[in-house]
Amino acid sequence: MKRKKSIIFLGTISSLLILIIGIFAFLSRSIAQPPKEVKTLKVGSTLPLNLGMGVETKKMLEVIVPKFNEAGGLTVQGQRYTIDLILYDDKYSAEAGRAAVERLIYQDKVKFIICQIGSAPIVAGLATTESEKVMSFVGGASPKIVSPKNRYIFGTSTTRTSIPPLWTMAKRVFPSAKTVVFLSPDDETGRARASEETQVAEAFGVKVLQVLHYPRDTVDFSSIAAKAKSFNSDLIDYPGAVAGTQFGLQLKAMYAAGFRGGQISAITPQMDEITAVASHEALEGLLCTMQGTEVPDPYPLAHEVKQDYMKKYGKWSETSLTWIHGWFAFVQAIKKADSLDPEGVANLIATKGLEWGIPNGKAMLVKRPDLGNNRYCDTCAEMAYSQIKNGKLAFVGRIPLDEAVSACEKVFGGKWR
């Protein structure tokens, strides 16, 4: 009996010891195991580094991407990734753009491309990105970007959807306006923008008296302005204009020609450049878009990116914000899909949509039934507007995301959400 008790005791002790050793072994193994290695995810971009907007976008990406990495980067299925941004110059041309995209795909093996700006390099690289199943979150104005044939490219700038919200605001600021004359560059972009704005203006009950085209490299707008003034319209609009000095020269010429009506533009003017060539009187009252960083109550993201940019470069540039929506969309899409498979991510956001935050506020992917595309492929965003008062941009108001989408649906037709 005594012997039996001893055997039970020894057995119990042995079992306990084995259990304790097992627990310790398990714990020590867990403690000693190194953390999962942080991997690098290559993300590509091509920008026109021969133009100010390309350089500024690059500078902004060089601020926000390292900060994103420092904050932990992307986590996909428990695996952490830091972003390695590979950026090439596309010179805003089709040839250089296609070469840069091919280099990104075949040499650097990227599966995601973000923040391209010009339609020419984007469209030139489109065949390659689609055939190689590389996902792109890009700017550009061309409707080809949101063609129903495409599966992997998403338009993440508001260039194709910013006109209806602008005219919503224009009707508030200039309620009695009945007529408008357009001044637009004589190229594919200018003509496409003018055609689109004609559709929008007429949907808002404003008659387009004339569309005046000028060569893209024009510097002397005197005669064109004299002709524009001769129509005595209530408004002048500048579809397809660029935000810098040339825009200032147009405003100056209109003022010199004697025009004193309302003026609107879908761009955010580069104030330092336009005030260098045009007097405050010539700019007074222009209704235009405003960056989210400049509004009286900027969103935290707007405040943060501006602070970070100024910390690195000293001087703030509003242009740096215009084309970076693609970055925020890319991050949100990967988080939503919890996958790095371009096909899976593209299918998910094209069928379920995507909402994300940008410095201006909220943005979302929308369908383009008017262009025959019923997948979520284009972007609508909250917009802020200003008027120039005494040489400075003065905040006028915001058009919230819902209203912006509704305005687009009203003008272009179909269900966008």
Binding site: D220, S222, I224, G244, T245, Q246, A256, G258, V277
Partner: protein, 289 residues
Amino acid sequence: MTSALFTQLLVNGLATGMVYVLIASGLILVLGVARIFNFAHGEFYMLGAYATFALCQVLQVNFFISIILSMFVVALLAAICYRLIFHHIRGNLLLCAAASMGLSMMFERGALVSFGTQERGLPSVFTGVMAIGGAALPVEKIAVILLCVAIMLGLYYLLMRTKLGKAMRAVKLDTEVAALQGINTTMVYALAMAVGCSLAGLAGGIIAPLFSITPNMGHAMLLKCFMVLIVGGLESMLGGVVGGLVIGMTLSFGYYILGGLSEILLFSIIGVILVFKPGGLFGEVVEDV
């Protein structure tokens, strides 16, 4: 078209035309006296604009002093270019043309590296709009016309009343006879180059507050100046004046009538002139320059 609108377009055309006159006169001087077809002439115009911009914006120098200093800077640069390059190849028209093309590229690239691709602009010195009989006339356009007329009168005085002008005209007429008369032809060539290019530089300075300044602004201007020379005649100063005004007016009224297609009107007018006057309005048919 109302009379007010006509007046506006007339003043616009005169202002633009007078700038063409100024630049084309320089080109004619260099071609006529030094026998150099200067493809870098547009770049001297661009350098004048950038020099004025740099003096006004960076060094905060008064605009009028800036354009005068810019003129001298461009003149000095042109004289150096002549001495270092064209002096050794003068007489060979093709080689001079090729050298000037190279110079043009160098200047353009230099401006690109120094000032970047960003368009630059200067605030206007003459602000405001004059209302005359319902026409809105920008003061700066009227000022440009007056400035250009004053400079052209100065050039006329230089060429017709001064020793240097007489020497230039003598060299243009017959180089060998002029040399036999004791004229230092090498010096005259260099001075013709300096004066001709300084006119382009001066025009660049005058135009700086009106339009934008870019490294490639010289190309379009050179093309317009060639049109002026074709219309007026290759070596005629009077032809340069008339040609400049014809081109300025055609573009001003052409933009109003045809918009972006005004260049078609311009080339049609040039075509008609060449049919009746193959050497230009005041020139002769050139067999060999």
